[in-house]
């Protein structure tokens, strides 16, 4: 990663204070739609970003390779590509390797090489590990071991597209209006305290987990050290990375439901726990003891997504905004209500969730026109 500064912040303006923009849109009935609405919505919040990062996560993206792990990898030079590809060839059966299609775009400067790979496990690969854990290990191996190569997307039937620029420029660069998915999340970045570089743009990903984030994780150090014990190594220079690894650990590996994960990441305050019944006090005290190192301190609102599910969450005293809205089968999550109204002027319901309260859209529980509050109920 020595050379990441080479394609770093073109404005030499790393330390600026404002807010990022988040947007998420999911058809809970699984219908796929193009990126046009998500791009329009995130660019309606242009003011929230400063052009130092834009990105998108798309689910249901590669149905023709639905059972392959889709890797998106950025390289700062050809040597890095050769080295990383040797590792990929060694570890997987590579069904397809190609550059991610792009078009020349004003506002996108000095892009790295971005390639995608559709990978399958060979029978002998990683017999002692689950497929997901094997893939995780390979991602960490490339990100920590190959200089100037970064796997920034590694899930099935989904991918992340991101870079330095406003999100609408990044969308144009990666031709996102040509893709379809049932779930889109988008991010407009205004870096605080950490560099604006291609790998530092949101969403952050591991396997099919993605996170877009507005805020600052002041517990980054302790979260990072805790996650290292489980084989996660932070290489992207940005606090948000820990959230992606935390949800992979808690939800995929430890199989915790989102309600409990929310109690870990945005734990209720002790003054609230005190008023609960004995059983809940014991439960919340235990959670704090076991997972205290994954408590996210500092202001945040996030949209977390994985296969079939989109989750909105803010810190427990909501120091960053989040608006949720429902229209028919669609669930929207956004930093600002206007971005939702832009693409869906009439809504069944629009509201601000309480701090620490997860809002969940799921393919398992499709929203219906007759149950406009199902998303909120699913969260309680």
């Amino acid at each position: 990663m020595d050379h990441w500064k080479r394609i770093n912040n073109p404005y030499d303006d790393d330390k600026v204070i404002d807010a990022c923009g988040l947007f998420g849109m999911m058809d809970t009935s699984g219908g796929r739609f193009s990126g046009v609405d998500a791009i329009a919505a995130i660019s309606n919040m242009h003011e929230r970003g400063n052009g130092l990062g834009g990105g998108f996560a798309v689910y249901g993206l590669y149905p023709q390779y639905a059972e392959h792990y889709a890797f998106h990898v950025m390289y700062l030079d050809e040597a890095a590509r050769r080295e990383a590809e040797a590792l990929l060839q060694d570890g997987f059966r590579v069904a397809l390797a190609e550059p991610v299609p792009t078009r020349k775009t004003r506002g996108v400067q000095d892009p790295p090489l971005v390639w995608r790979y559709f990978l399958q496990m060979r029978t002998q690969d990683g017999q002692k590990l689950s497929h997901d854990d094997y893939v995780l290990q390979k991602v960490m191996q490339i990100n920590t071991g190959v200089r100037d190569a970064f796997v920034f997307s590694s899930g099935k039937n989904m991918a992340v597209f991101k870079g330095v620029g406003y999100p609408e420029d990044i969308a144009n660069y990666f031709r996102l209006e040509e893709y379809q998915g049932y779930l889109w999340t988008a991010h407009s970045r205004f870096p605080t305290n950490t560099p604006g570089w291609w790998g530092g743009a949101h969403p952050f990903n591991v396997l099919d987990w993605t996170v877009v984030h507005n805020g600052e994780i002041s517990s980054y150090g302790i979260n990072r050290r805790y996650l290292e014990m489980f084989g996660y190594h932070c290489t992207m220079q940005t606090d948000t990375e820990v959230i992606a690894y935390a949800v992979d650990l808690l939800m995929r590996r430890h199989k915790l439901p989102i309600e409990i994960v929310a109690d870990v990441l945005a734990a209720p305050l002790w003054s609230q726990i005190e008023r609960e019944d004995e059983e809940r006090i014991a439960f919340h005290t235990t959670l704090r003891q076991v997972y205290g190192s994954l408590l996210l301190n500092g202001p945040f609102s996030v949209v977390i997504a994985h296969q079939g599910e989109m989750i909105g969450l803010t810190d427990r005293i909501r120091l960053r905004p989040l608006t949720a809205a429902v229209k028919g089968n669609l669930l929207f999550l956004s930093s600002e209500e206007s971005a939702i109204r832009l693409v869906s002027p009439q809504l069944d319901r629009a509201w601000s969730p309480m701090g620490g309260e997860p809002i969940v859209g799921s393919l398992d529980r499709p929203l219906g026109k007759r149950e406009p509050v199902a998303a909120a109920l699913a969260a309680t």
Binding site: E47, R318, R341, L342, A350, S352
Partner: protein, 256 residues
């Protein structure tokens, strides 16, 4: 960018805001006011920030759509009427005038306001009225028709806040926690139930006296007039008065 469709008919002006950046939109509003417009209708508003910022006029500005953050920031005497919802920071550091929202408002409504009146028909988000202030005879009023989320009136230093709880179902207990945390001035009148543990440590509770009742009557009557409610019916509800116990709650925090 859409084409400038500013069309002027006498003193009423219509502006199609669709595609305009806030700088451009505010420039058009200022020009219309300078030319003597009494009523300005903004259509297709979608997220433009700072609408009518620092505006001093007698004009009424009717906003159709969803105005962006910091609506009417530093407003200095106009009436803004929103047919929809307001986002965060509505009435930020407002000095004079009126903001009327036919819907809900996001976080920090009325933050640091020092004058003027804000009426929200439905609920507000976190930290409504944070650090509102007053000086001698001048102070702001924030009237919320629904309920509020946590930290209502945080660090409140002056002014009057009224929370009517009209959107609460059934047991009509407000759910906000940390109400009035750090409050050291001003007053909050709250209609409906609230438990002691929901209040900040710096807050006292009492029954509204006759003077309080007169203030409430005036503000609730205005609220009811804006949104078509029955003021008497609202006033017949049970109100509590929340007031600061100390003028300098943190006066000794960093001293020995």
């Amino acid at each position: 960018m859409s084409v400038d469709t500013l069309s002027q008919k006498g003193l009423a002006v219509r502006i199609d805001a669709n595609g305009f950046h806030h700088r451009e939109l505010n420039r058009l509003i200022r020009e219309a006011v300078a030319e003597g417009a009494q009523r300005i209708d903004l259509h297709g508003v979608c997220g433009q920030r700072y609408i009518a910022t620092n505006l001093r006029s007698g004009a009424e500005i009717h906003i159709h759509g969803t105005p962006g953050n910091d609506l009417g920031a530093f407003l200095d005497g106009s009436r803004l009427i929103v047919y929809g919802n307001a986002q965060d920071g509505c009435g930020n550091t407002m000095n004079e005038g009126e903001i009327i929202v036919h819907g809900h408002a996001g976080d920090i409504a009325g933050l640091s306001a020092r004058g003027g009146r804000i009426f929200i028909r439905e609920d507000v988000g976190y930290r409504a009225g944070i650090h509102m202030k007053e000086y001698e005879g001048k102070g702001p009023a924030l009237v919320i028709g629904g309920t509020a989320q946590d930290f209502l009136g945080e660090y409140m230093a002056g002014g009057t806040m009224v929370v009517l709880g009209l959107t609460l179902n059934g047991g009509n207990c407000h759910t906000a926690s940390f109400v009035g945390t750090g409050m050291h001035g001003g007053v909050i009148y709250l209609r409906g139930q609230i438990n002691d543990y929901q209040l900040g440590k710096e807050v006292g509770v009492s029954q509204p006296n006759r003077k309080d009742r007169a203030i409430l009557r005036e503000l609730v009557t205005q609220f009811a007039g804006h949104f078509g409610f029955d003021a008497e019916e609202i006033l017949a509800g049970r109100f509590v008065k929340l007031f600061p116990l100390y003028l300098r709650p943190y006066g000794r925090l960093y001293t020995y």
